[in-house]
Each structure stands twice: as structure tokens, then as C-alpha cells.
């Protein structure tokens, strides 16, 4: 590196080298990359667990593992994917790298706290992994830790609960950092409504992180107390109330879904204008739909509990709010499509992923309404239909949003370009594999296949087999995508500062960005999506 630093201009990647310079860096871009690498590793671990589960279900009866192993696997798959991968996910990676740049700041408001959050995150992540292996009793409660089973199970539930608690703390501190950053560090002239939409979505996300995570924190602590001190908050044999646990758990864990999806929406909102060379359609409605999703999403948790025993009034109220939250989501979909309409659409890999995001998210959203209706909910509750819906939202939405984001910002992050053809082929495998994997689950779910079952009635075998084949195709796509990206970090063609002709601030600085982002503080004089393209009308 020292030889090249004479010729290559100094940037955040090469201004200091060595492992310690990364582990002690308070540079938001480096911390974002630390998150990217750790999240990728954990994602691969949990994806392998998912693949093993699918192989197990290729045929009825035990195939490659015992029932207890399967229970441990779906639990750890869930804990890793939810708490370690998708909740920090986009916000911690792209939020850290690009939020300060997009609002014209040198760093986040509390750089040391930012690094500290990563260490908390890694501690929690390692605890989560440890719970899988310690004493050979991986937790088998599912990632939801429902009592009374989680209070009684003899597996490593306490370690897993502690892991989730610690990870929640990291999430809170990241959210806090982002809120303060957006309030205090916007560049001169960058008023709230001149801010790009990705920072706006992070702002909405951060408030959910801040206001919802403490509730699950104390709830998990109460389950820990229940197991270690025999305090029976939720255990009916000690006078506790298991439904109360479900309420407290979902008060956080439903908004957590919006913590996952809102930043993904923010990412594709950046991608559509850039690859259409046209201002985003309906800037203000998108801003307010983000805030509305955050606000209403806070009050829909009861729709996870329609069959758990709630009054009729609560059920229709939660159902009504669930339908209400679909409105701002739909507004966003209309805005994205209208942004492309009449633009000079350039179907590069980031846009390909962003369009598949819309497709998959829409399927996930509509099936969410099936689950949110009181009558149909009883039929499909706790079936594979839920699994399919959930993965369409989380993997099809947040996952593809993440893939879109990494393909969009990759040249900015590394100053290199990946191979387009390779990326397109990998996308084909991912998109087709994804649908083959999850769509059959809708059908066998409606037919009555319960979720989380290790074995199944032979009548579901066709659906299960197709789904397992899809899993293999999906994994091939993942390997193709990740290897394309990893391979070209050092070997890719040198990327220009602005390969996509983007107009937000991150494209106005060199690739990779210099250590302090901007040589001089940018002064903002207009909105974020003003294109010079003569064929399209600017706002």
C-alpha cells in the first residue's frame, strides 16, 4: 500500500493502513464497512442454515437432521437474520457510509459512540453465535422467544436473550447518533426539504429504533429474570400473563420490520431518479409516507396476535391500522413507478435490483393484507403462508434493497467497478431462485402446511420440493453476486467519481471519498434531484 499511496490520491481506505487503524477508526465510512463485512459474514452463516433447513424439507421425515437440530436451526437462522443482519442492515452500513456525505457533513455527530456501537454489536453477535454452540443446546424457541416455552426450555435461551438485548443497545445508539446528526450537521443551505430521501428514511427509521427498542430490551430482561430469578411475569403457573409478553414483544418487533424496510425504501428512492435521469416524483409525499409508516407502524403490533386471545375491539382496531399502513407504502410504490415514467431509463444492475424490489415488496405487501384481515388470518396464521409473506418483505424487500444499494454505491465505496454481465446473471439466479423458493410456500401455506415444522404430510411434498430447488438456485445467485463484488474490490476497472450521473452530494466527491469527505464545506442552493438532462423537466 505504501508504494501506491504516492501515486493514488489519499482516501479513507488508504490514508492509514493496518488492522488496528480499522478497529480503532472513528471514520463513519470505515465503521460502515466494518458493519458491511460483519453483516455479510453473519448473513452467509444464516443463509447456510436456511439452505440446510430447505434440504431437510426436500422429503418428508428426517432427511439430514433430527427434529431438535431443526428447531435449533430455525431459531438461530431467525436470531441471526433478524437481530444481526437485517435490523442493523442498511442503516448501519449505507447509513453510516452515506448519511454524513449526503447531508454534507464530515462525520456523524458522535464518532466515538459510533465505533462503540459497532463493538457492542459485535459482542451481541458473538453471543448470538455462542448460544448456538454452547453445551450443544442451541435455543429452540424461535426468534420470538414466546413464553411460557422460553421460560422453561432447557436450551441456551438466556444467552440468546442476552445477545438480543445487547444488539438492541447497539441499534438504539446508532439511531440516536443519526437523529442528532441529521438535526445538527446538515450543510449550510441544506434545509429539511432539500435533504435527499435516503437520509429522510434513515431519520424515520432512527426514531423507531430509539422509541421501540427499549421496550423489547426490558421485555427480554424480564424473561431473563424469569429464568434466572424465578420471577413469574409471564409464566401462568406463577400468575404471569403470556399474552402480555406477546404484546410487549411485538410493540418492538413489529416496528422493527419498518426499521428493516424503511432504509431499503430510501435506497431505491435514490436509485430510481439516478437511473431515470429525472427528478423523483413526489418528493414531499415520499417524505411524509416515510414518517407515516414509522408512526402508524408503531401501532399495528396486535396483528401478530389475532389468534392469541384479544378482545374483538382490539382485533378490528389493529386490523384497521394494518390496512392504514398500506397506504403510505403504496404511495411510495406509485412514486417510484412515476419517477421512471418518461425518464431515460438505464437498466444497469442497481436499477434491476430496485425494480425487483418493487415487484417482490408488492407481493409481500398484498399478502400482508391477507394476514391483516381478521377472517383470512385465522386460516393462514402460523402457516408457511406467513413464512412466504415475511420473506417476500424482508428478503425480497430489505434484502434486494440492500443488493440494489451495494451495486449502486460500490464504485463510490471502493473506487472500482464490478462486472455488469456477471452482476446481471447473478441477479437472474437470485430473482428466479427467490420466487421458486418462496412462492410455493404461499400455496402450501393456504393448504394448511404449518410453519416451523420439521416434518410434513406427503401431500405437501411437491410444494416443498420445488421450494428446496429454489433455495439451491438462490444460493448459486448469492455466491455469484458476492464473488463478483469481492473479486472486483481490487481488480475491477477504476470507477469515475460519478459513473451513474447521480446528482446527490456523494457523487460530487472523488471515489473513494477522501478521509474528511469534503475539501470544503458544500453550500446547498437547491433541492436534491436536479438533473441537467434537457429531455426531462426539473422541479
Amino acid at each position: 500500500m505504501n508504494n501506491t499511496s504516492a501515486t493514488v490520491p489519499l482516501n479513507y481506505l488508504n490514508h492509514k493502513t493496518g488492522l488496528w487503524s480499522w478497529l480503532s477508526s472513528t471514520d463513519h465510512k470505515r465503521i460502515g464497512l466494518l458493519y458491511l463485512y460483519s453483516i455479510t459474514i453473519f448473513f452467509c452463516v444464516a443463509a447456510v442454515l436456511g439452505l440446510l433447513m430447505r434440504i431437510e424439507k426436500f422429503a418428508p421425515g428426517p432427511t439430514i437432521m433430527t427434529a431438535q437440530t431443526y428447531n435449533g436451526m430455525f431459531t438461530i437462522h431467525g436470531i441471526i437474520m433478524i437481530f444481526i443482519v437485517v435490523i442493523p442492515g442498511l442503516a448501519a452500513v449505507f447509513g453510516n457510509i452515506f448519511l454524513p456525505i449526503m447531508i454534507g457533513a464530515k462525520d456523524v455527530a458522535f464518532p466515538k459512540l459510533n465505533l462503540f456501537s459497532w463493538y457492542i454489536y459485535i459482542t451481541g453477535a458473538c453471543l448470538g453465535l455462542y448460544s448456538q454452540f454452547a453445551n450443544g443446546h442451541s435455543p429452540d424457541t424461535g426468534w420470538t422467544f414466546y413464553v411460557p416455552y422460553s421460560a422453561e426450555a432447557s436450551s441456551n435461551v438466556v444467552i440468546a436473550l442476552t445477545a438480543a438485548f445487547v444488539l438492541g443497545f447497539a441499534s438504539i445508539l446508532t439511531g440516536l447518533n443519526f437523529i442528532v446528526t441529521i438535526h445538527r450537521l446538515r450543510a449550510p443551505g441544506m434545509t429539511w426539504f432539500r435533504m435527499p430521501l435516503f437520509p429522510w428514511s434513515l431519520y424515520a427509521t432512527a426514531w423507531i429504533q430509539l422509541l421501540a427498542t427499549p421496550i423489547v430490551g426490558i421485555t427480554l430482561l424480564m424473561v431473563i429474570a424469569e429464568r434466572t430469578l424465578q420471577i413469574g411475569f409471564f409464566d401462568p403457573t406463577l400468575g404471569g400473563d403470556p399474552v402480555l409478553y406477546q404484546h410487549l414483544f411485538w410493540i418492538y418487533s413489529h416496528p422493527a420490520v419498518y426499521v428493516m424496510i424503511l432504509p431499503a425504501m430510501g435506497v431505491v428512492t435514490e436509485i430510481f431518479p439516478t437511473f431515470s435521469q429525472k427528478p423523483v416524483f413526489g418528493y414531499v409525499p415520499i417524505v411524509f409516507s416515510s414518517l407515516a409508516i414509522a408512526l402508524v407502524g408503531y401501532f399495528v403490533w396486535g396483528h401478530h396476535m389475532f389468534t392469541s386471545g384479544m378482545s374483538y375491539e382490539s382485533r378490528w382496531f389493529f386490523s384497521f391500522l394494518t390496512f392504514l399502513v398500506a397506504i403510505p407504502s403504496a404511495i411510495k410504490v406509485f412514486n417510484w413507478l412515476s419517477t421512471m415514467y418518461g425518464g431515460s431509463v438505464d437498466l444497469k444492475p442497481p436499477l434491476l435490483y430496485a425494480i425487483s424490489f418493487i415487484f417482490l415488496f408488492t407481493i409481500g405487501g398484498f399478502t400482508g393484507l391477507t394476514l391483516g384481515s381478521l377472517a383470512t388470518n385465522i386460516q393462514v396464521h402460523n402457516t408457511d403462508f406467513v413464512v412466504a409473506h415475511f420473506h417476500y418483505i424482508i428478503f425480497g424487500g430489505m434484502g434486494f434493497g440492500f443488493f440494489a444499494g451495494i451495486h449502486y454505491w460500490y464504485p463510490k465505496i471502493y473506487g472500482r467497478m464490478y462486472n455488469f454481465k456477471w452482476a446481471n446473471i447473478a441477479w437472474g439466479f437470485l430473482f428466479i431462485g427467490f420466487n421458486i423458493l418462496y412462492f410455493p410456500l404461499f400455496i402450501i401455506g393456504i393448504q394448511g402446511m404449518p410453519r416451523r415444522y420439521f416434518d410434513y404430510d406427503p401431500k405437501f411434498q411437491t410444494g416443498q420440493m420445488i421450494s428446496s430447488v429454489g433455495a439451491v438456485i438462490l444460493v448459486i445467485g448469492l455466491i455469484g453476486m458476492i464473488s463478483n463484488l469481492v473479486y472486483h474490490v481490487r481488480r475491477g476497472a477504476i470507477a469515475p467519481a460519478n459513473p451513474w450521473h447521480g446528482v446527490t452530494l456523494e457523487w460530487q466527491i472523488p471515489s473513494p471519498p477522501p478521509h474528511e469527505n469534503f475539501d470544503e464545506v458544500p453550500v446547498i442552493t437547491h433541492g436534491p434531484y436536479v438533473f441537467d438532462n434537457p429531455h426531462t423537466k426539473n422541479d
Binding site: 440516536l176 437523529i179 442528532v180 430490551g217 430469578l229
Partner: protein, 206 residues
């Protein structure tokens, strides 16, 4: 070198930014205890009579003493902030020291209170506890959880204020830069505030 500038920049975070961060953090603390308050509310409505009986076991005098102790400590920590703004370094150190003594008094009272309950075998999982009705078990469970979590916050607040005191004496906190002291005081007020809610809920409503 740009790094040295950078470090200096982050060591003196601008005061409004630092305080905004602290206030947001305090919100999350309130929500943390909020979860326990919800459980308390639900359980109280479910087992009103048992809660009434169990609450009679608590010593209102110790509870009231501790309330006064914390209120006074909140005052002294606020006074120390005024002292540092008026360049009275030694007075500020003295006032924080008094705050720490009061925190100690609070914890000693708490220790005797818990010790007394435990000597009566009123702790979760004990044989005596198992003979009690569900509502009373729940009350004591909540009592230990809420006051325990609060006591943990007293300890954290005490450590924070000790650091503040050392920084005042070394001159790092001074008339110009007292963000850490301000945030420490804010945290201490939160500890006080939560107690103001715990005291009536656990000791007074019988």
C-alpha cells in the same frame, strides 16, 4: 495531520449537539422503565387485592427517606453546575461529592431494605414466596425488578458523577466546557425522576 484536528473536533462536541444526544438517550431510558410500568399496570388491575396486601410489607419511612435523599441530591448536582459556570471549582467538586454521599446513603438504605425482605424469605423462588397468592408473588417480583434496575442506574450515575468530579479537579471540565457535567446531571435527574414514580407506585398506593 488531519487526524489530530479530527480528534480535537470530537473531544469538544458542541454543547447543543451533546445535550440533544443525552436527551434522546434519556427518552430511551424512560421507555425501558415504561415496559415495567405497563406490566405493573396490567398486573395491578388483575390482582388489586394482592397488590394491596403485599405493598403493606414495604417500609414507607425508608422509602420516604430515600425520596428526600434523592431530591436533595438532584438539587446539589444542579447547584454544582451553577458553581462551575461561576468558576467556583472547589464548590462544584464539593457539591458533587455531597451528591455522591447522598447516592451512597440511598444505596445503604436500599441494602437494608432488601436485606430485611430477604431475611423474611420474601424473595423470588423462596419457600415462603411459593405459599403466597399469585398477585403478591408478582408484586414482589416487580418490586425487586424495578428497584433493582433503578439501583443499577444509581450506581451508573454515581460512576458518571465520579468521573465528572475527577475531570473538574483536573480542569478538563471548566467554565467553558462543562458538557459532560451537564449530561451527568441530566442523567442524575432521570434517576431521581424514575424514583419519584416508583415510590408512590410501590410504597404509597396500598
Amino acid at each position: 495531520m488531519t487526524t489530530s484536528e479530527h480528534i480535537e473536533h470530537s473531544e469538544h462536541i458542541d454543547s447543543d449537539t451533546g445535550k440533544l444526544g443525552m436527551w434522546l438517550f434519556l427518552f430511551t431510558e424512560l421507555f425501558l422503565f415504561g415496559g415495567l410500568f405497563i406490566v405493573y399496570a396490567v398486573m395491578r388491575s388483575k390482582y388489586a387485592a394482592d397488590f394491596h396486601h403485599a405493598a403493606l410489607e414495604l417500609n414507607v419511612l425508608i422509602g420516604a427517606t430515600n425520596t428526600v435523599v434523592l431530591l436533595v441530591s438532584s438539587m446539589t448536582v444542579a447547584m454544582s453546575l451553577t458553581a462551575i459556570q461561576q468558576k467556583q471549582k472547589n464548590l462544584a467538586i464539593g457539591l458533587i461529592f455531597i451528591t455522591l454521599i447522598l447516592a451512597g446513603v440511598f444505596m445503604v438504605n436500599k441494602y437494608f431494605e432488601w436485606g430485611h425482605k430477604i431475611s423474611l424469605h420474601l424473595y423470588p423462588g423462596s419457600e415462603v414466596m411459593k405459599t403466597l397468592p399469585h398477585g403478591e408473588i408478582m408484586f414482589f417480583g416487580l418490586y425487586y425488578m424495578m428497584t433493582g434496575l433503578h439501583a443499577l442506574h444509581v450506581i451508573i450515575g454515581g460512576i458518571l458523577l465520579t468521573i465528572v468530579m475527577m475531570r473538574i479537579s483536573s480542569g478538563k471540565i471548566n467554565q467553558e466546557h462543562y458538557l459532560l457535567q451537564e449530561n451527568g446531571a441530566l442523567y442524575w435527574h432521570l434517576v431521581d425522576l424514575i424514583w419519584i414514580f416508583l415510590f408512590p407506585l410501590l410504597y404509597l398506593i396500598t
